[in-house]
Amino acid sequence: MSTFINGSKKKRCRDAYSRSVFIDFVERHQHLAAVNYPDSFETELDIVNNVTFAKGLARRRLIQRNELGGYSATREGRKQIDPEYVAFYRFCSPYVDVCDFEQEREQHREESFCAAMWSVLLRELHRRMQKGDFPAVCNLHRDIARLYELEQCNEQAAYHFVAALYIHYSGLPYYKDLLLMLRGAKKESTVRDSFGAIYAPPMIVDGLKRHMDRITLDFVREVFHRNPLVINLCSPEMLFELIQALCGGTYDDKVWQGKLRAAFGALMENAKKTGAAAKAVPGRRKEPDGGKS
């Protein structure tokens, strides 16, 4: 959420953004009738209707009808296209708003699109981590990795792809249930049965494949070390083995789901033994020492 940009500045930013993206789209799809433009423009660009917006731009001579049945941009229209806004749109990270990006852009004037984008994504990642929205954290690591790839910073890209997978296979969604189990509010069998299959998101796997050569066991250990979590379903060795299987084409689903289930069982046993006191998140109520074993 922007706190620094005021209301009218936000509106100007959004209007400029809408025009940039729309006119750029028109240039790339000159044969397409406005009625077939993405419906998502109506939410993402804050416009009411594609057809009327196109007509409005045509009236202002920013675009014009062509012989292919669609529109083309005029010279005046092309001047309105801000390449960084277009890059922002095409990057497509739904968690960040163009106004946040604009605010960062002002502070990173001389640097590239990626610098501003990186700040925005990182801030959002920390926010979501605090909120405990782990699927979003995983997605944001993935997006940050993609951003690094754009700048050919392959080491950092690899790091974030591994971090994304690490979060995805951390078992965090089951943390609450484990606590409830230790408090006696949930039966052990219920928690054990609630463990479902975990599958690696394909976009992350593709990213890992592209940087396979950089990923070593130490690399994975580094990711673990720099991102401590309250719960770890996999050890660094197990995650590294998983990455090799996924990227090398030797992934056997049955075997791996079995391993994950076994790891979860071990996690449950461990939790019972230590009472989870040592793993309590700062700020949360600590479990009584000795647990309920």
């Binding site: 790339r28 799809h29 044969h31 397409l32 009738a33 009625v35 077939n36 433009y37 993405p38 419906d39 998502s40 993402e44 497509c92 990270s93 739904p94 968690y95 699927p135 979003a136 997605n139 479902g196 299959a197 599958y199 998101p201 394909p202 976009m203 593709d206 084409g249 056997d252 689903d253 049955k254 789901q257």
Partner: protein, 244 residues
């Protein structure tokens, strides 16, 4: 046609949840107030993928995995709860056997009905009408109301309309391509023609053999999640060996 390699279908972090309300009172409250304490059913969970112009993609998944919800989002019938769905171009999809047909209108009238809803002009439809009617092989039935049709006839008309209205993106649900061997062979030939013309093709199927026939890429959906995205042979193998 949109240039090749341009992304025409883009899903990012898409999640779709349905509210399950227990009673009318909760439903009415949801109309005016934002916070609802209803239980939620997750139909699609954090789906992200890109499909480019001209790709032929198979969508594999068991019934109830979330395939039809995903297709409805591509067609613009429903919207994601979270995340972004971007679709560029005219989408032609038959989402159910009797999908979008007015049962009281005849087959011929329905061609115009469907076509106009997709934004195609009446003149363009007049041009396409003879091909559609001929392909459907419905003969004189084309002028009878749809409610008199068997499900096989509805599928024939549906496929015929889908395949002949020059879409940019076409979705075919294999469960709907019925008819005898000859008709199915005709459908296959038409699909191959369509593939060669650079139309983006989405094929929903349970049969990995058919998928390998037409598609180069496979998406495997399980319980609302995208679990595999890659070469069709690998996708088919993954789907078959998927741990239940």
């Amino acid at each position: 046609m949109t240039e090749e390699h341009e992304v025409v279908i883009q899903f990012r972090n898409v999640t779709k949840t349905f509210d399950l309300f227990k009673n009318d009172k909760q439903r009415l409250k949801s109309l005016l107030f934002r916070n609802t304490n209803a239980r939620k059913k997750v139909a699609i969970d954090n789906l992200s993928f890109d499909i480019r112009q001209g790709e032929a993609v198979a969508i594999l998944g068991k019934n109830g995995a979330g395939k039809s919800t995903m297709l409805k989002m591509i067609s613009g019938v429903t919207f994601p709860t979270v995340g972004s769905v971007r679709v560029t171009g005219r989408v032609s999809a038959l989402l159910e056997v009797s999908g979008g047909f007015d049962p009281e209108l005849s087959g011929r009238e329905n061609i115009y009905f469907r076509g106009e809803l997709l934004g195609i002009s009446r003149d363009e439809l007049k041009e396409m009408e003879p091909d559609i009617v001929a392909f459907s092989e419905l003969g004189s039935y084309i002028d009878m109301p749809i409610r008199t049709y068997s499900s096989g006839m509805k599928s024939k008309l549906g496929f015929s309309i889908n395949a002949n209205i020059r879409p940019d993106i076409i979705i075919v649900d294999e469960a709907l391509s019925v008819g005898d061997k000859d008709f199915r062979a005709k459908c296959r030939r038409r699909i191959t023609e369509i593939l060669n013309s650079g139309v983006t093709f989405l094929f929903v199927t349970h049969s990995t053999a058919e998928a390998k026939n037409f598609c180069k890429r496979g998406l495997v959906i399980r319980e609302g999640k995208l679990v595999f995205d890659g070469d069709i042979k690998d996708a088919a193998a993954f789907y078959e060996k998927m741990h239940v």
